[in-house]
Symmetry: C2
Subunit: 109 residues, 2 copies
């Protein structure tokens, strides 16, 4: 992943955001992210699953097992706390991003 280090602290936001489009399992999220970002975020599974577990442990997600076509699946949903966290994280991102731009912007002027 090219944005390896940059992703830290933003992955949770991305996952929460993508998951509000509708409950899904880990592998599907990974695909959604890749498509919605036009390939910018092509995350390996070893990144996504631990992140989901972390978010569930924090109470931002809830999961439940199911079996589809003979395969075990774990579906995730965003909890109310998760939605709240998403709002705060989104605001924080805009703040951060704006900060970066205002620093970078000085060079172009």
């Amino acid at each position: 992943m090219k944005h390896a280090e940059r992703l830290k602290g933003t992955l949770d936001l991305l996952l929460l955001s993508v998951l509000t489009e509708g409950s899904a399992h880990g592998y599907a999220l990974l695909i959604r992210l890749r498509e919605h970002s036009a390939g910018t975020f092509d995350l390996p599974e070893g990144t996504v699953y631990p992140a989901l577990h972390r978010l569930e442990r924090q109470g931002l997600l809830a999961s439940q097992w199911s079996v589809v076509d003979g395969r075990r699946r774990r579906s995730y949903d965003v909890t109310p706390a998760g939605r709240q966290a998403l709002q705060m994280e989104t605001a924080a991102w805009h703040d951060f991003s704006g900060g970066v731009l205002s620093v970078l912007g000085r060079r172009d002027r």
Copy 2:
């Protein structure tokens, strides 16, 4: 620092960018960053100095000691390699940032 984890992978870009405005020492950079970002980036010294050492080790910065008002100072300059890295990092940031926005943007529509 509120953006602790988010900063990872972006700090180098910020430092390089701020340093192209003119050579400066570590403490001054820390102040420049705080002012240029309107307080968004209020970095502790323990963050800035190791980062500068890292950048110098990578050949993106060059430093030289001086003494001003009886105080030792280490002034940094961006090397040609540093300027090149800055360009690439800036492009990568825009790519990354664009990716985040296109993922987040889906919720608003």
